[in-house]
Assembly symmetry: C2
Homo-oligomer: 158 residues x 2
């Protein structure tokens, strides 16, 4: 290694940068499917997908499931309710909780979108062999685990 005061950093090879670019591109590619025709934001799509999978969650639960802030969920819910995609009822056992329920229109929207995004996901992953896909899956998990460790470390140092 030659002598140098500053370690080398090449932005184009910097992993966080590469990951950010890929994510933005993937997010855009999938987002184009539901922002235009279905007029859903990214967050609304997540709420829709989560409620389809787990009916009658509360806003809090959705925040947990979707990695969104409770505020973003609150706003997504408000817009979706306004547009007739879901209904809110205060829960009987604890009136702080909202029981959220997709309307038929909400469910239909979900059913319309799912094939589109799955097809696009499949197209993306088709760039990889089955083995590579499985490997990628594991790599993402390992990396995510590390970010949790870093978050822990930083929290302690605060």
């Amino acid at each position: 290694m030659t002598h140098s005061d500053t370690p080398q950093l090449t932005l184009k090879r910097f992993f966080p940068y590469r990951l950010a670019n890929l994510q933005a591109a993937v997010s855009g590619a999938v987002g184009r499917l539901y922002t235009g025709r279905f007029n859903l934001t990214h967050q609304e799509w997540r709420v829709l997908a989560t409620l389809s999978e787990y009916p009658e969650l509360s806003a809090k639960d959705i925040a947990t499931h979707t990695n969104l802030e409770k505020m973003q969920v609150s706003r997504a819910i408000a817009r979706m309710t306004e547009r007739g995609l879901l209904l809110q009822h205060p829960a009987a056992h604890d009136r702080r909780y909202l029981r959220l329920q997709l309307t038929e229109k909400g469910l239909q929207t979900y059913r319309d979108i799912v094939p589109l995004v799955l097809e696009r996901e499949a197209y993306l992953l088709d760039a990889l062999s089955a083995e590579e896909q499985q490997l990628l899956d594991g790599l993402l998990d390992k990396l995510l685990e590390r970010t949790h460790q870093l978050a822990e470390q930083d929290k302690l140092k605060e």
Copy 2:
């Protein structure tokens, strides 16, 4: 496969969702290094890194190199100039162009940050074996290529 009207989608296993979560976590982990102590935004960091690598680029060039919009670059440049991190001179041959140049303070800031982010990148990637790292690199490239194809397709359909 059992019969079902709607193909299955499990948000937690949905690749774009997983990628978005990982990216947010990685971006956060690295961002914490320069947002707090150095008071740089994500975009300012990219501009700083790019100018360190390629001195005297124009704003347009930086936008290209960093995957930022020209507007974001314009704003980053304005803030960084104000804070004494860089200088702008109109280019002699074409006065529309800005010749951007890091000041000593800008360079020093860069030199201070580089070891921190490189260390963090290394820590993240240490979750993977050398082979896995190389593989990941290739996978990201292949996937990125696919997103370009999708962008092309969508552009034509517009």
